[in-house]
Amino acid sequence: MSVNPGDALVIAGRPIRSRLLVGTGKFPSLGAMRAAIDASGAEIVTVALRRVDLDDPADDLLEHLDRERILLLPNTSGARDADEAVRLARLARAAGLGTWLKLEVTPEPRWLLPDPVETLRAAEILVREGFTVLPYMNADPILARRLEEAGCATVMPLGAPIGSNKGFRTRDAVRIIIENARVPVVVDAGLGLPSHAADALESGADAVLVNTAIAVARDPVAMAQAFAGAVQAGRAAYLAGPGAERDTAEASSPLTGFLDP
């Protein structure tokens, strides 16, 4: 359901029906997770490979995801370097989880910040191997360019550290990334409220990825719906062309008015 028909998000040539991407971690139960995903209307759903039993075709987590309706985006969370991320990605593909991959290389468990060097290295390898790579990255405009040059399908700068709910704190850097980008820019991580998501979309981000804020809400289904609405509103506002922010009220022509008789 798009407010603006014709304004579809396209990633790697595939039209995506929602600009809200969601995660599957931290929910109180798999049932709650499934209900929230349904309510979000998200097409792209990311799942941590470390949570999935790739040897078990009847894995509980995968059983709860309707792959007819969603595009499964396995992620490599837990990977400490490029080699581990690449290994996980190959296994996911071999296990039939597709070729789309959210690349996460987060070597420290505290803030789960992405390692730029290893992320770029892994992206180069995985793109060469035919994966559609969506890399989680810090809001670094040059790194975004490098990842794009490496052939990534999107760039996914963080709004704030994962799970922090602090909102769109990296606005200035993300604006530069958006200005430069030729691939969709997805603000990933740290968005704690629907208003944060709207903020990112209003600023020109193509999409957002939200997990914690939905998963740990008192009512994950209602929060998923709220995010879906905010994402639509934010995108609509962006397309409507927001006026620039000013520090003061401004008379119409204070400096040159004298020229008019």
Binding site: R50, P109, V216
Partner: protein, 354 residues
């Protein structure tokens, strides 16, 4: 000069307003003076835990490979002073035990031995880790301290976690309760977690045995130890445990009583000081209490534990290390967690993550 109560109120206000608690705050966070504010502090600890870890609790099973031990620890059922029969599982016994544990649903195991390098040497441990890694995506070890090369061998074999408690940071008391055996060397044990980090173990668990030393002084020292390690080994995921001394054959009674209330304060305090470390509560604690402690900040629990070698496969056994209090099956614990609004995580790691 402020009164102690006014002082506590000011510190509580600071923490509740979002200020960071430091290891140096532990004495007041663990003191009775904090009790009037324990509920709001617990709520804050709960919110921080949920934000970082989600509404999840990761489940693991300890697997005892051997109760042979050279040490003479006054609190432990494996002490060399005990005449109890000693059992060290052979290769077939290890496999049977691991298969039995896997069948109950676990995907995270903790291999445990006493300190008996002749009986349970590096070759033995390496083979056991390999056998476990064939069955489990996540294998941790709780064994005697090794040198860095030793830890490297076990990492190469598939171990990714280490559990090693200093028991107490009070050197004089440490010497008294570790009456003989290699464990009597305080510094060799103290420095082991650092060697493990250097060797590439990715998860390291620290703790003190509650009931031995002054719980507050030990907590301050433990937090300091952890804070130093976290600076240097920023890739390592750390956990803290709060094991209370349990009855064991020939074992001493607790020197200090650690009440349920102090245990609860401790979990809340550790969470407020370290928002991202794992907190572990084992089957040493009774079911009803464990259920209550979970929302305060617990992220990992054992379930259905047998603390004697061969206990899972044979259902009977050798001398156990300590008496288990929570006798529920793993499935019962998982069901209860779901009832409390938590997803029990059986698998939260992958063998391909090194």
């Amino acid at each position: 000069m402020t009164t102690p109560a006014a002082d506590a109120a000011a510190r509580v206000a600071y923490v509740l307003a979002g200020g960071e608690a430091q290891p140096a705050d532990l004495p007041w966070l663990l003191s009775p003076a904090v009790d009037p504010w324990l509920e709001p502090l617990a709520r804050l600890a709960h919110r921080r835990t949920v934000a970082h870890f989600g509404r999840t609790v990761q489940l693991y099973a300890p697997v005892y490979l051997s109760n042979a031990c050279l040490n003479r620890c006054l609190y432990c059922g494996f002490s060399a002073r005990n005449e109890a029969p000693r059992v060290t599982l052979d290769a077939a016994g290890i496999e049977a035990e691991l298969d039995a544990v896997r069948a109950t649903g676990f995907r995270h195991v903790l291999l445990v031995t006493g300190e008996a390098p002749d009986e349970v040497g590096l070759d033995y441990l390496e083979a056991a880790v390999r056998a476990a890694k064939r069955r489990f995506p996540s294998v941790s070890i709780e064994i005697y301290p090794l040198d860095e090369a030793g830890y490297r061998r076990l990492v190469a074999a598939g171990a990714e976690g280490l559990v090693l408690y200093q028991e107490t940071y009070d050197r004089a008391l440490y010497a008294k309760v570790h009456a003989g055996g290699p464990k009597a060397d305080y510094d060799a044990r103290l420095e082991a977690p650092e060697r493990a980090c250097r060797a590439g173990l990715r998860k390291v668990g620290l703790g003190t045995l509650l009931g031995l030393g002054d719980p507050v002084e030990d907590a301050v020292a433990l937090a300091g130890h952890l804070a130093r390690l976290r600076k240097a080994y920023w890739r390592t995921f750390f956990t803290l445990s709060v094991p209370r001394l349990r009855p064991a054959r020939g074992g001493m009674r607790p020197r200090v009583q650690v009440s349920d209330r102090l245990l609860a304060r401790m979990i809340v305090a550790y969470r407020l000081v370290f928002r991202d470390v794992g907190l572990v509560v084992s089957t040493r604690e009774p079911a009803a209490l464990r259920d209550r402690l979970v929302p305060l900040g617990v992220t990992q629990m054992s379930a259905g534990s047998r603390t004697e070698p061969g206990g899972y496969a044979t259902g009977e056994g050798a001398e156990r290390q300590f008496a288990v209090e929570d006798g529920r099956t793993p499935a019962e614990v998982a069901e209860r967690l779901a009832g409390l609004g938590y997803e029990p995580l059986w698998k939260d790691w992958d063998r391909n993550l090194g």
